[in-house]
Assembly symmetry: C2
Homo-oligomer: 230 residues x 2
């Protein structure tokens, strides 16, 4: 029984890594399609999002199955609960890649990236791909030092987001309203993507350390595998 | 023991209703502050968001505690898992109210609502307050007919979102880039708020019917409280 259980937990982890790889491919393609107005590549991302959604639902079903059958406690319980949250964040990251692809398709054959913002958005896209790769690595290895790498990438994306607004709001900005709308939405999506990744990484850190929210006695008791007296 | 357990589940529900009430107050104040450039009211929303976040974390801790101590199965298990997801969505809805309040504060003493969009944004704000009230009622009563009410409100908010873009992209639009950015972000926030509410309502429906995703055998087995054979 214990062996079956640990196989299930490994299965949970392997599925999270798999979904994270799909999200990495999605954001890579979506940001490249956005940069090059490649509508075929954008369509590919939009179509593939259903697969990410489906795999997230399957993972949730597995997690609920494990809770029902194996009734895990302590660290095992935390893994399963965190997996439910991580899958929700990964699914949302996939949605963001899809939104970026939709912006590309909506503007086609016009360029989706407004004039004057090409280098900023290219850089932000590359940062998001690095975010997704780092997150996948963190899920695979549980190497918590990668949380700091993700935070640093997230800071750079926040800087990029601010610089988009600075450009759009500067006197030099000659974009039409449509360009302003596109820049605003794209920048918001690219920045949110990294927020979700940091949120996932924090959940993995909680798994490893039991420190979901510092100084919470309840969690400490659960981590210790103990009973809580009312 | 069973009595203690059912008290815990009632506690979970009561806390979800409480958080939903706080979110309702937040979106009501945030949209009114946005409409009237009331920076004091906006500050109130920004400060109060920490309370919503804290209550969501406390609810998560309670849910994990219940899973660890009571090891619920079947419908009870589904209630606890759904509560974890609902609390995450409510917390996110609180964040959106905060973002709208931040837009108001950022523009003060200028008006946050761009010229020509006052009536659209007022209407969308009122719809979001109705969304939050309906959601609270659904959490309190588990009256699933309210899911349809929420879907109808969500459709109206999608229409509002589209009409904002139509205005901003029309020849008649004379707004500066800053006004276009504000309109884009505000409209996106107001529309997303309702998406989250529909997502919560679907989770409650899943609780009542076991129909998280139709035609999923695993869920059917769990609902029946049965064991799953590998």
């Amino acid at each position: 029984m214990r062996e079956v259980f640990h196989q299930s937990l490994e299965d949970v982890q392997a599925r999270l890594v798999e979904i994270s790889e799909l999200v990495t491919a999605a954001i890579d393609k979506a940001t490249r399609a956005f940069g090059t107005s490649d509508v075929a590549l954008a369509e590919e991302v939009i179509e593939a999002d259903a697969i990410i959604d489906e795999k997230a639902v399957e993972l949730d079903e597995l997690a609920i199955q494990i809770l029902a059958r194996q009734q895990p406690v302590a660290r095992d319980l935390r893994i399963v609960v965190a997996a439910l949250r991580v899958s929700a964040s990964l699914e949302r990251m996939g949605d963001i890649a899809e939104h970026i692809a939709q912006l590309t398709r909506m503007r086609f054959p016009e360029r989706a990236i407004p004039k004057g913002l090409k280098s900023t958005f290219t850089k932000m896209g590359e940062l998001d791909v690095e975010v997704a790769r780092t997150l996948t690595e963190l899920l695979r290895t549980e190497d918590l030092s990668l949380l700091e790498t993700l935070r640093a990438l997230d800071d750079k994306l926040d800087d990029g987001h601010l610089s988009v607004f600075e450009k759009v709001l500067s006197d030099a900005w000659k974009g039409e309203a449509a360009a302003t709308v596109d820049a605003t939405l794209a920048s918001r999506y690219l920045e949110r993507f990294a927020d979700h990744a940091v949120s996932v990484a924090k959940k993995v850190a909680y798994l490893a350390t039991g420190d979901w929210k510092p100084d919470t006695e309840t969690i400490a008791v659960i981590v210790a595998g103990g009973e809580i007296v009312d």
